[in-house]
C-alpha cells in the first residue's frame, strides 16, 4: 500500500486571536449621574464580549489583529490645552453663514453653543456632560433608544466610557431653519476617543444636523469608537450629514441607527475620506407606516486606508421607502468594503427599497468589495439593488486629453464626474466643496 504524504498544518496563532487587549479599568466608568446604571451594564458587556475576529461574517474583510488596543488611553480632563487646536477651517460652518448652534467636542472637554433664539424654542443642543447635568431625564430617555451596548465590543466600550457626546432634542412641531453643527476634534496619539450622540426629533419637528469627526495625521495610533442613536418621530424630518476626516493613524468604529416613525423622513449623508481603518454599522429602521429614508455615501481612500461600511435598510412597516446610493473611489493600496442589506419584515407590504454601490478603482493595488443583499419576508414589495466595481476608461481620458487637459487633471475631472450623482444629493455648497477639496488632494498625489 502506497504511503500518503503526511500533511502537517502548523498554526502558530489562531486566526481571530487579537494580539492585544484594552487596558481600561472599572474605575474609569463614571459611577454617578443618570447614566450610571447604563454605563455599568455596558462595562460588563464590554468585558464579556471579545474583539471581533474575521470568522464573524460582518468582520470577514476587516482585520483587527494590528489594532494597538493596549496603547490607547482616555484623554484626561482639559487635555485639549496640550494638543493641536482645532483648525479654523473646521469651525467654519459648512451649511450656512451662521449655524443655529455648534458643539465642539475636544479631548477632555467641550464647547457648546446654541443661539438664544433656538434655546427659547426649547431646543436642546449641547455636549453630553452638560445635558446630563441640565436635562437628566431626557438623556436617560434617549440613551439606548436605538443602539444597544450588546451590539459589539466597540458599542459597549463607547456606552460605558464615552467622554465626548452630543445631545440634540427638537420639541414637537418645531422647525429649525438654521443647521446645527457639531465637531469631534481628536488630535494626539495613543488616545481613545469614545463618543455618544443622541438625537430626537420629536413629532412634526424638523432639523438639519451636520456632525464631523476630524484629526490631523500623526505618527502612532489613536482609536475612535462611537454610538449614534437617532429617533425621528412621526411626521418629523431630519437631514443628517456625517463627515469623517480622521487622520491616517486613527482606528475608527461606529454603531449608528436611526428609527423613523409614521410619515417621517430622513435624509442621511455620509462622507468618508480619513482614518487608517474604519468599520461603520449604519442602520435605518423604518418603523412607522409611510416612513422614508435616503442614505447617500461618498468615500475616497488612498495609501493603505481601509474603509468598511455595513448598511442596513429595515422596512418594518407598510408603505415604507428607502433609497441608498454609496459611491467610492480608491487609490494606492487602499481597500473598501460595502455590505448592504435591505430587510423587509413580515407585513411591511408596499415597501420600496433600493440600494446601489458604485466603485471606481484607480490603482491596480486597490480593491473594492461590494456586497448587496436582500431579505424579503413580505409580499407585494419592490426591492432592487446594484453593485459595480470599475476602472477609469481609456476613451473618456483620451477625449479630455485631446482638449489639452493634462492627464492628472483629466483623471480628476472623471473622478468628480463619477461622484456627481452623490454631490447632487447634498444641498450644502460647503460640504460639496470640502469633498471636492479632498478629491483634488487625493488625485494629485501618486
Amino acid at each position: 500500500m502506497e504511503e500518503k504524504p503526511k500533511v502537517v498544518v502548523a498554526r502558530t496563532r489562531r486566526i481571530g486571536t487579537p494580539a492585544k487587549t484594552f487596558v481600561f479599568t472599572a474605575g474609569m466608568v463614571p459611577a454617578s449621574g443618570v447614566l450610571a446604571d447604563y454605563r455599568q451594564k455596558a462595562w460588563q458587556i464590554f468585558n464579556r464580549l471579545s474583539l471581533p475576529t474575521m470568522t464573524e461574517e460582518a468582520w470577514r474583510r476587516t482585520d483587527l489583529r494590528e489594532l494597538p488596543a493596549d496603547t490607547v488611553h482616555l484623554p484626561t480632563e482639559g487635555a485639549f490645552r496640550e494638543l493641536a487646536p482645532v483648525p479654523a477651517d473646521l469651525l467654519k460652518p459648512l451649511t450656512a453663514d451662521k449655524p443655529g448652534g455648534q458643539v465642539v467636542l475636544l479631548p477632555g472637554g467641550a464647547k457648546p453653543y446654541l443661539s438664544p433664539e433656538l434655546t427659547k424654542k426649547g431646543i436642546i443642543f449641547t455636549d453630553m456632560q452638560t445635558a446630563e447635568r441640565e436635562n437628566p431625564e431626557l438623556v436617560a430617555r434617549m440613551t439606548g433608544q436605538t443602539v444597544s451596548p450588546e451590539e459589539g465590543k466597540f458599542a459597549a466600550l463607547a456606552g460605558a466610557l464615552a467622554q465626548n457626546g452630543v445631545v440634540l432634542y427638537i420639541p414637537k412641531g418645531i422647525t429649525v431653519e438654521q443647521p446645527l453643527n457639531s465637531l469631534l476634534w481628536g488630535p494626539g496619539v495613543d488616545l481613545a476617543y469614545l463618543s455618544h450622540i443622541l438625537v430626537w426629533v420629536d413629532e412634526g419637528a424638523s432639523v438639519t444636523y451636520v456632525h464631523e469627526a476630524a484629526s490631523p495625521n500623526e505618527n502612532g495610533s489613536t482609536l475612535h469608537a462611537g454610538i449614534v442613536e437617532i429617533k425621528v418621530s412621526d411626521n418629523a424630518s431630519m437631514q443628517f450629514v456625517e463627515l469623517q476626516s480622521w487622520g491616517r493613524h486613527v482606528w475608527n468604529f461606529s454603531h449608528e441607527r436611526v428609527s423613523v416613525g409614521h410619515d417621517g423622513t430622513l435624509d442621511w449623508i455620509f462622507g468618508a475620506i480619513g482614518s487608517r481603518l474604519t468599520k461603520n454599522f449604519s442602520e435605518l429602521n423604518l418603523v412607522g407606516e409611510g416612513a422614508t429614508g435616503r442614505m447617500s455615501g461618498f468615500y475616497f481612500t488612498d495609501g493603505f486606508q481601509h474603509l468598511d461600511h455595513d448598511t442596513q435598510q429595515n422596512h418594518l412597516a407598510p408603505h415604507t421607502t428607502s433609497d441608498l446610493l454609496f459611491k467610492g473611489a480608491l487609490k494606492g493600496h487602499s481597500r473598501s468594503v460595502w455590505q448592504g442589506m435591505i430587510y423587509v419584515a413580515v407585513g411591511a407590504a408596499k415597501a420600496d427599497g433600493y440600494q446601489a454601490n458604485r466603485n471606481l478603482v484607480l490603482s491596480s493595488n486597490a480593491r473594492a468589495d461590494s456586497i448587496p443583499g436582500l431579505e424579503i419576508l413580505a409580499d407585494d414589495v419592490r426591492c432592487t439593488h446594484g453593485a459595480t466595481v470599475g476602472k477609469l476608461e481609456q476613451e473618456p481620458l483620451f477625449y479630455l486629453k485631446s482638449r489639452g487637459i493634462p492627464e492628472k487633471e483629466a483623471e480628476r475631472l472623471l473622478v468628480e464626474g463619477f461622484f456627481d450623482p452623490i454631490m447632487q444629493r447634498i444641498p450644502f455648497e460647503g460640504v460639496r466643496a470640502r469633498f471636492q477639496q479632498a478629491i483634488h488632494e487625493k488625485t494629485a498625489t501618486q
Binding site: 486629453k401 485631446s402 489639452g404 493634462p406 492627464e407 475631472l413 472623471l414 468628480e416 450623482p421
Partner: protein
Amino acid sequence: MSELVIKNLHVSIEQKEILNGVDLTLKQGEIHAIMGPNGTGKSTLAYTLMGHPSYTVTGGEIWFKGKNLLELAVDERSRLGLFLAFQYPVAIPGVTVANFLRSAVNSRRRVVNHEDKGMPILEFRKMLKEKMELLKMDSAFAGRYLNDGFSGGEKKRAEILQMATLKPEIAILDETDSGLDIDALRIVAESVNALSGPELGVLIITHYQRLLNYIKPQFVHIMLGGKIVESGGPDLALQLEERGYDWVREKYEETPA
C-alpha cells in the same frame, strides 16, 4: 505660419498595418478634404495625429509648427494648436460642458503662466455664451453632462463649440457630417465656415461629398488602402460624386489573382 507636415506615415493597430506611407502638408488658412471609401484609414490618420494610444506609428514623421508631433503627449498636441472633432464623441456623465471647457481653457492658460488661477468665472461664462450664440445653441446646453444623451446633431455641434472655444490652428473634422440631417449639417458647416479664415487650417475627413457643398476645400485628396492616391482641387470631389470610387479602385488596387 503653422504647418502640419506628414511624411511617409506608417501606422498599425494590433500589428495590422492600416496606413502605409501617407504624405500630406496642410497650412494654416487652407482647407483640405480627405475622401475615400470606408476602411481605407481616414479615421486612423485622424486618431494618429491626435495621439490615440491604440495606434502605433511604425514609420514616418509628423511635424507641427516645427515640432515633432510624435514626441508630444496628447494634451500637449492640443495645446500646441491641434484639434480633432471626433466622429463618435464619448459621453462623460457627471462632467458638464461648461466645467469641461473651463478646464480645457485653463489648461492652456497655465502653459503660458504656471501660476495662472484660471479665467475668471464671469469672463468664461460671457465667452461661452457668445460662442454658443454663434452656434445657435441653447444656453442650457452648458449645464448638461458632456455628450451624455446628446442627439447626433448636438454631439457634432458640441464638437464645433469646443473648436470655437479652443481656437486651434489646425482642426481635423473626422466624418463630422455623419449622422446629421440636412438642417444640422447646414448649421455645423456654417459654424465651421464662420471659424475658418487665415488663422485656421482645416482637414475634413469625409466619405461623402455632401459636406463639401457647404465647406469648400481648396485641396481634395483621395485615400485608398492606407495612402493618399490622388490629390487635386475641388473638382476631384465632384468627380467622386459623379463616378463613385470604382474608378479609383480600378486605377490603384491590384486585381485579385
